[in-house]
């Protein structure tokens, strides 16, 4: 488990030089008039300013958003062109549901590791306030046909086949195409089958709010969250996440009604992450380049792993599958981790994964391993809160966790940190980070 093992293998190391995010805002609040692209441009532009990086050094930009955009399908390239960056920066967009900004980070890391680029910007943004509203299948095909029609009569004929209900817009699907369940229903299923109590879930939510509120109070986030003076009016500024509630209590949360299974359910708006708008970004460099440019990195990306499971089962168990892969690649075990940050989609998902981490049975049956991944030490776990309190702009969350973990490693003098997320479709992602 020697330090700098990657180097020993003759491989380059990927340095994470800087990270930044916008404040995360509840759907329809501070960013209600902004698109994911607007948010992404702002955070990338500000990150570059703060890093004092010469934009000419940047080779690539990898970025993602989960809610698809009709006007800017390749958000990464639009950020390059829209944020005043050199037009020579190549760019592509990725999507891995809630783990999107882990994907953009590791995709760029791969390019750096094989020597394609030395400097990359990565990240992700989502606006749940600016969702694409689709038209019905029938109207869509009529529109396509009509665009090819030559005469007005032909056009009229095509539209005459439509009935009024075909004209209604179709809201974006929140259901998993493969299971027909919403994310919340999947989590509800896990809570139900795993016997996760309402009280335990609410306790996780209260913990998350308390830690995030404390982090804001202590100024932990001040240097990793930009102020956002909101265009086009610029008359309001948001400087902190607006979902964090320092007065959240178990009793208060207990009063909320279940939302996914109204009759017997235990998941409420209080113990589920909320629809959120926001963006985050990272600067990645090869270790040599960072040194040459005089940067002290926040840390290094030591290893990562992805896993996938049947979404029809316990869909949100991704962290329990992806983490051992990343740890093995790093040559480390969970107890080597000084900070563990797991994306909090739902309190129930957190509790299920915590249990699986410590379970020999789970390791044996599901992972084919003789030993459990390891018990999660509360003192190292989501130390500044998580998505339950801070919010979850899908594509922005992973990069948020990376920045927070690296800065926390420095703060507590730790060496290794784990970031892990579950994602729609039964996906899991994990990354091991290393202090400089």
């Amino acid at each position: 488990m020697a330090k700098g093992e990657a180097k020993k293998n003759g491989r380059r190391r990927v340095a994470i030089v800087a990270g930044l995010r916008t404040p995360f805002a509840k759907q329809g609040t501070a960013y209600k008039d902004l698109s994911a692209l607007d948010l992404g441009k702002a955070v990338v532009a500000e990150l570059l300013q703060r890093s004092e990086l010469d934009p000419a050094e940047i080779g690539m930009l990898v970025y993602g958003q989960v809610l698809p955009s009709l006007s800017a399908p390749n958000i990464a390239r639009e950020i390059v062109l829209g944020a005043g960056l050199p037009k020579s920066i190549e760019a592509y967009s990725v999507s891995r549901a809630c783990a999107t900004s882990i994907q953009s980070m590791t995709s760029a890391a791969e390019a750096i590791l094989c020597g394609q680029h030395d400097v990359a910007i990565t990240g992700g943004a989502d606006s749940t306030s600016d969702v694409p509203i689709a038209v019905s299948k029938k109207l869509a095909s009529a529109l396509v046909e009509a665009s090819k029609a030559r005469t007005v009569m032909e056009k009229l004929k095509i539209f005459s086949t439509l009935s009024p209900k075909d004209l209604l817009p179709v809201p974006p699907a929140l259901k998993e195409p493969s299971t027909g369940l919403t994310m919340g229903e999947s989590a509800e299923k896990m809570a139900r089958e795993g016997g996760i109590s309402r009280r335990a879930q609410d306790a996780i939510a209260v913990r998350s709010h308390a830690k995030a509120a404390r982090a804001w109070e202590d100024g932990v986030f001040a240097d990793e969250v930009m102020h956002f003076v909101v265009p086009p009016k610029f008359d309001k500024a948001i400087s902190q996440d607006n979902l964090v509630r320092k007065d959240a209590t178990a009793d208060g949360l207990a009063k909320l009604r279940p939302v996914f299974d109204r009759k017997y359910g235990t998941l409420t708006a209080g113990n589920s992450s909320a629809l959120t708008d926001g963006a985050s970004a990272l600067i990645l460099m090869s270790e040599e380049k960072a040194k040459a440019l005089g940067y002290t990195p926040l840390g290094y990306l030591r290893s990562w792993g992805y896993a996938a499971i049947d979404p029809g089962e316990w869909m949100l168990m991704g962290p329990s599958y992806a983490t051992p892969i990343a740890l093995d690649k790093a040559g480390l075990s969970l107890k080597d981790m000084d900070v563990i940050d797991m994306h909090e989609a739902f309190a129930a998902q957190i509790l299920c994964n915590m249990e699986a981490f410590g379970s020999k049975l789970f390791a044996h049956e599901k992972l084919g391993r003789s030993e459990a991944i390891g018990e999660i030490d509360d003192a190292k776990f989501n130390v500044h809160g998580g998505s339950l309190a801070i919010g979850h702009p899908f594509a922005a969350t992973g990069a948020r966790q990376v920045t927070t973990v690296l800065r926390e490693l420095k703060r507590r003098g730790g060496q290794f940190g784990l970031v892990t997320l579950c994602a729609a479709g039964g996906l899991g992602a994990a990354a091991v980070l290393e202090a400089p």
């Binding site: 441009k41 532009a45 500000e46 300013q49 703060r50 004092e52 010469d54 829209g82 944020a83 005043g84 102020h227 003076v229 265009p231 086009p232 009016k233 610029f234 008359d235 309001k236 500024a237 400087s239």
Partner: protein, 724 residues
């Protein structure tokens, strides 16, 4: 002398491509021999059986024809020579218009003045999106001299012709197409081919030009009828031109005779026809060309052209540093305006203010300016987004490390400015330049204690920055040539006319304005009513009077500047006793809606016919009765001579590099009447002996503040001039 400016090539399709390309010049202008050359080419075309039609184009990559050669115009000595010049232009254009073989103008870039007139004489016009048209002659105190105004009026109507003739404003390609001035707008790569197509079509089937009146009659409808009632009817026209004269008189105070010549020309076209109007035009052109007004305006034009080429430093080897990113301290009106003009030049801006609210106000101001340009179609939405993306805001020095130049517009306080310089020097690269936007604090003082005083200059912008054309760059004793040249080059990219002055309290512009404002205060304290003072100076040609200016600038700012100058120069900057009562009475001007004029809640001047919006309680505040009768001429002369005398001192003391810079600074920075040419040209035109006599007269009456500048005394002694 460019002998052969035209090249004629005949294409296989029978179109003769006539390319105008004045040798040894970056743009085409009409030369003394151009008309003769055109006539010669037309004869060749007429007699060449292989040519069926013609396309006229420019050999310059970015422009068509930008007008008449000004050196040629400047050389004209008598009105009759000027008239002959106009008639020759008319004749040349008439020959183009009468060509048996149709001529199509292919326009890319500006077609201005005489260039527009030539294009209008062609039978058709094809242009690119980048084409612009206009009659800028009015800005030089002239009118178009080759019947272009008339041909334009035939296409777009009398009212539109008046509008463009009186303002000199630019007509863009899309609007030109909508108005029927051009026949087609195409991509630059297609310009020649499409123009040839139009030329062949006209050769195959001659087309009678459709006049404005024809089009209106065909179109019908209430709007068309209303326009016809005004333009196609003697009574309507009488009303139309009466109104135009009234408005013009009100606007120009009679100082711009060219405006009335434009109205006369268009009116005679409407009432008496093309030929009669051509006579009116040629006579007016001759008279205007030798008029004092036009001479001064052309002189200013030349001065601004010279300044465009001036690096701001004497050593030709000095090269400005590239400014790729500008730091702006302060997001107030000034800072936001500077951010805007900088981003417009494609330069990244890091804008800093104390807090998010202040920053937001600055960003909103830039957004408002850009959005209004999108509304006026002078900017595409895409370019707007690109421009706004260049400006990012902050409340810290984050992102200043890569700034090549930082402009500070923090509060006017020496200690604060010195602290800001020290902070910036920590953050910037050793080559980073720091420019202060102070209007009065000597730059040398701000540079005291600096680690790199060579990198410190003054960049004095005028408010509102996006409108005011002047930038005053100030070099203190320690400023390096590179720093000065960099500031000058940046100012030019921001679209400014830049003068470089040496350091001193109030530099040039603030310093010469102060005695003028002070003299207005003396008149007020003598009991001359506020509006009488303002009217006198507006009549003399200033855009606003000194009392209005006082409210705009603010009494607090005025008092601060006055104090700085008073300490430096003593008695002639001492305000009349009692003026401090204005501030003591809580009057700061428009900014707190309490000045010498009355303001409503929104800060707009209260309109009132009787009081003229003056806050009459101001007289009580000052303890005076506004009943003094001073003739307007005396009000004008006392203020103007105070101003001019101080300008001459600035030249004598080496603050100014040249009288040229002094004229430009006064006109573009302070609104000195352009048709009077600036303080130095004004002294030249009145004569130094007379100026000295009047100044000495005032010294007898009012004392030492009218002590003539040594430069004036010397000039009068030799009866010399500032400008040749």
């Amino acid at each position: 002398m460019a002998d052969h400016s035209f090249v004629l090539e005949v294409r296989p399709d029978g179109v003769g491509v006539l390319t105008f390309d004045v040798q040894g010049a970056s743009v085409n202008s009409l030369q003394a021999n151009t008309i003769g050359e055109i006539e010669e080419m037309l004869r060749r075309i007429d007699s060449d059986p292989s040519i069926r039609a013609v396309v006229l184009r420019s050999g310059k990559p970015e422009s068509f024809i930008v007008g008449a050669n000004l050196d040629m115009l400047k050389g004209v000595r008598t009105a009759s020579d000027g008239e002959a010049l106009s008639r020759s232009g008319q004749k040349g254009c008439a020959a183009v218009a009468a060509s048996r073989k149709p001529i199509v103008a292919a326009v890319h870039g500006p077609a201005l003045g005489g260039g527009f007139e030539v294009a209008l004489a062609c039978q058709a016009r094809v242009c690119t999106e980048k084409a612009t048209f206009g009659f800028p002659e009015i800005q030089l105190g002239l009118l178009p001299g080759a019947n272009g105004l008339q041909r334009f009026a035939q296409l777009v109507g009398l009212q539109m012709a008046l509008d463009f003739g009186l303002t000199g404003k630019t007509l863009r390609a899309a609007k030109a197409k909508a108005l029927g001035v051009v026949d087609e707008v195409v991509a630059p790569a297609l310009l020649l081919e499409v123009a040839c197509k139009h030329a062949r079509a006209l050769a195959d089937k001659p087309k009678k030009p459709v006049t404005f009146i024809d089009r209106l009659k065909k179109k019908g409808g209430a709007d068309a009828l209303q326009t016809l009632a005004l333009e196609d009817n003697p009574l309507g026209r009488r009303l139309l031109f009466k109104k135009a004269r009234e408005l013009t008189k009100k606007k120009t105070k009679g100082h711009y005779p060219a405006a009335f010549a434009v109205i006369d020309t268009v009116e005679s076209l409407g009432n008496r026809g093309f030929d009669a109007s051509a006579d009116v035009e040629a006579r007016a052109f001759g008279e205007l060309l030798v008029s004092e007004t036009s001479k001064q305006l052309i002189g200013i034009f030349f001065a601004t052209q010279e300044l465009k080429k001036d690096s701001g430093v004497a050593n030709p080897a000095v090269k400005p540093q590239e400014v790729g990113k500008l730091g702006m301290l302060g997001a107030g009106l000034m800072g936001a305006g500077i951010a805007y003009v900088t981003a417009n030049a494609g330069i990244a801006v890091r804008l800093k203010d104390r807090d998010d609210a202040g920053l937001g106000k600055g960003l909103a101001y830039v957004e408002k300016l850009l959005a209004s340009r999108v509304r006026r179609k002078s900017l595409t939405r895409l370019d707007k987004d690109r421009t706004s993306a260049l400006i990012t805001g902050t409340t810290s020095y984050d992102g200043f490390g890569r700034c090549d130049l930082v402009v500070e517009a923090v509060f006017e306080d020496l200690a604060l400015k010195q602290r800001v310089v020290a902070e910036l020097e920590q953050k910037l690269e050793p080559t980073g330049i720091i420019a202060s936007n102070t209007s009065s604090i000597p730059i040398g003082k701000i540079a005291e204690g600096s680690a790199r005083p060579q990198n410190i200059v003054g960049m004095h912008y005028f408010s509102p920055v996006e409108k005011m054309p002047l930038l005053e760059v100030i070099r203190h004793k320690g400023s390096s040539d590179e720093a000065v040249a960099t500031a000058v080059a940046l100012g030019k990219r921001q679209g400014k006319t830049v003068i470089v002055v040496n350091d001193g309290p109030g530099f040039y512009t603030t310093r010469i304005l102060a005695p003028y404002m002070n003299e207005a205060a003396f008149l007020l304290s003598e009991g001359v009513p506020v509006e009488v003072i303002d009217d006198a100076l507006v009549d003399w040609g200033f855009p606003v009077g000194p009392m209005t200016l006082l409210d705009e600038v603010g009494m607090d700012v005025g008092a601060h500047v006055g104090k700085v100058l008073n300490e430096a120069f003593g008695a002639r900057f001492t305000p009349p006793p009692g003026m401090e009562k204005l501030l003591a009475d809580g009057r700061k001007g428009r900014k707190n809606k309490r000045g010498v004029y009355l303001y409503d809640e929104q800060g707009n001047r209260v309109k009132d016919k009787k009081t003229r919006g003056v806050d009459e309680s101001v007289y009580a505040s000052l303890g005076i009765t506004p009943t003094a009768k001073v003739p307007p001429e005396e009000i004008q002369m006392r203020l103007v001579l105070a101003f001019v005398n101080e300008a001459l001192r600035c030249l004598g003391e080496g603050i100014l590099r040249s009288p040229r810079d002094g004229d430009i600074g006064a006109i573009f920075g302070l609104g000195f009447p352009p048709f009077r040419g600036g303080p130095f040209r004004y002294v030249d035109s009145v004569g130094p002996v007379e100026i000295l006599r009047r100044t000495e007269g005032y010294r007898e009456r009012f004392g030492a503040r009218f002590e003539p500048a040594p430069t004036l005394v010397n000039l009068a002694k030799n009866n010399a001039r500032f400008h040749r």
